[in-house]
Structure formats: C-alpha cells, structure tokens
Subunit: 192 residues, 2 copies
C-alpha cells in the first residue's frame, strides 16, 4: 500500500502525478524535453539510458515502463533487457555504451563521473550536448525512481500492461500521458 | 573544470541551465512549484529539506545555495548549518524533524522510506500533501545535486556570494533566477 492516499488504479508515477497537478506539469515537461524533444540522441537511446538508471536504482516500475517504450521504438525487447544489467555486452553502439557508463556513474553520485568516463564518450563521437543530456537523464531518473518508490506506489506485475503503455508512450510522448491521466481521473485536478 | 563547455562565470546549476534552455524551463518550474508554490510547509522549511538532502549528497554548491536561502528567510544562518548535519538536535519542530528523516531516507533510495518513518511524521501532524512534497523535494535534489556535480560545474568558495544570491532568491523565487540568467547571458538562448 502506498504511504499516502493516492487516486486508485493508477500505477507507479501516475498516482502521484494525479495527486499533485502543480508538480505533475513540470515533471512531465522535463520527461518530454529530455526523452522526446529535439536531440541527436534517438528517443530509443534516451529510453535505454532511463532503463539502465532505473535498473541500477532497483525501481521495477520505471525499469519496466521505460524498457517497454524502448522496446516499442526498437521493435525488440531484448535490447532494453540487456542494457538494464550488462551494458558492455549489449548490442548498442560504442558511443551509447560509453554514455551508459556515464549514466551509471551519475546514478552512484555526481562526483563519481570522472574525466576519463567523459573522454571515452567523446572518443566515440559524443558531443557536449549529448553528454549534458545523458547526465541530466540519469540525474532525473534518480528523482523519478525515488518519487515512485519513496511513496511506495503500485507496481503492476503483468508484462502486458507495460507493453501496451510502452507502445502508447512511443506514439504519443509524455505530455500525452499526462492528458490521459487527467481524462481518466475525470478532472483537471483529480484531488478536487 | 567542467566536463563540457559551459557559459563562463555562472556557478553551479546556472551554467547548465544557460547551456540548455529547453530543460532549464521545466527544472526551474519544478523548483518554483516545490519550494515556493502554495504549500502548508513554509518556504524556509522546504529550503531546509533541500539543504539537508544536498548535504547528504555532498553537493557543496546546492547545500550552500539553499542553506543561504533558508538563512535569508529565517534571518538566522545557524539553523540550516545544523539541519545539514544533525537533524535530531536542530532547533526545528518535531514535524519538520520527522519530515527531514523521511527526506534522508529518500536520499538513500526510495525503498529506504519505511511505514514507521511516515507514521512518525503523521503523528507530529504532517499531512499527505506534506509527506508527498517532502519525498518529491528530496527526490528532486537527488537530481539537482547530480546535475551540478555530474558535470563538474564551478563551486564558488566565497560565502558572501551565496549570501547575496540567497537573499535574492528569498525575494524573487526560482523563476526570477532563470530570467536573470537569460539577462546575464544576453539572450533567451545563450548558446546561440
């Protein structure tokens, strides 16, 4: 059971997003800008970074949700599964491997990111903007993961629900998700 | 030296905010909603939560910055200093002590927050919304701290600069800070 009374039937982050619309808006805008906005990293690459960090933070809801978005974008669910646990042997580019290592260091703590980690990414073609976005995606999932688990929200165990939602987010993005929560709870502020 | 080329002369998070305006907007909106928006926790109480989490994450820039905002709001700089390191003996209410313990658990990881931690806060009068906001402030500073240190941004060592900026944020809030960065860098998008 969640630590506070959340709207019923909404899994993971969707419960607290519905509970507190004032913070839901910037949280969704940040996810949209980071994971779907203009970038030279593909949406799938960014979802894989989110999946890896969520796995490291042991946040099953975020790992499964973002793994499912990556799977929908790639048409392959083996890649997110491997990126979650074994970056060096995952079937991704050398650049993305190096960025995933940077993301893993951010998950440990900001000061864990070393110049040589950044240099490795740069050697494989990563730009300043890509390094910036990797650090911020990893940092942001250290927030989202703690938000989801720190309130003890509901984590569905049925893989089909993640697949369905992953396909939806792949199509509509994160701003779309927020509109759907509002529709589902029947008002623009579901607490009222 | 920072891991990427950031606009010069901007300390801490202000460098990356200027570097990437698309993510600066939701990051500032989130800080404004969490730390200054409508809440039954005072702005000073919320800044103390931010200070405590930043101290636990060993992020000197955020600890000093938010400690200085709390000091400006309280007219006393000893309280944030004590809250940073010694919650149980800090001169704050029992409710805030209990919420600071919840925030410290979130810093360790979402699953570290136990029902008894939440119950302690509730026993001292904390509402669901206050518990929600404490968890999200703590989670958000696990992001901001990693963003600042994961890019190895510039941490000024002069206490006066934090005091001056703390007083400014106490007066103008976080949306005001973003406008000032835009003015200082001379354009709405400082990279262009």
């Amino acid at each position: 059971m969640a630590h506070i009374s959340l709207p019923e039937g909404l899994p993971g982050i969707r419960g607290p997003l519905a509970f507190r619309p004032e913070t839901a808006k910037p949280l969704s805008d940040l996810a949209e800008a980071l994971l779907r906005g203009p970038s030279t990293l593909t949406p799938a690459e960014r979802e894989l970074i989110a999946t890896h960090v969520s796995a490291r933070n042991d946040c099953a809801y975020c790992r499964e949700s973002h793994g499912a978005v990556a799977a929908a974008l790639l048409g392959d669910d083996s890649v997110p599964r491997q990126v979650a646990t074994d970056v060096e042997n995952a079937p991704v580019s050398d650049k993305l491997k190096a960025l995933l290592v940077v993301a893993g260091k951010v998950q440990q703590g900001g000061k864990s990111v070393l110049s040589e980690d950044v240099e490795r990414a740069r050697k494989h073609g990563a730009t300043d903007l890509e390094i910036h976005d990797t650090v911020l995606i990893a940092a942001a999932f250290c927030m989202y993961n703690r938000y989801v688990d720190g309130l003890a929200t509901w984590t569905p165990t049925d893989p089909a629900s993640y697949r369905e939602r992953g396909a939806l987010v792949a199509r509509e993005g994160y701003t779309g998700v927020l509109s759907r929560i509002r529709e589902q709870t029947g008002t623009s502020d579901p607490r009222r």
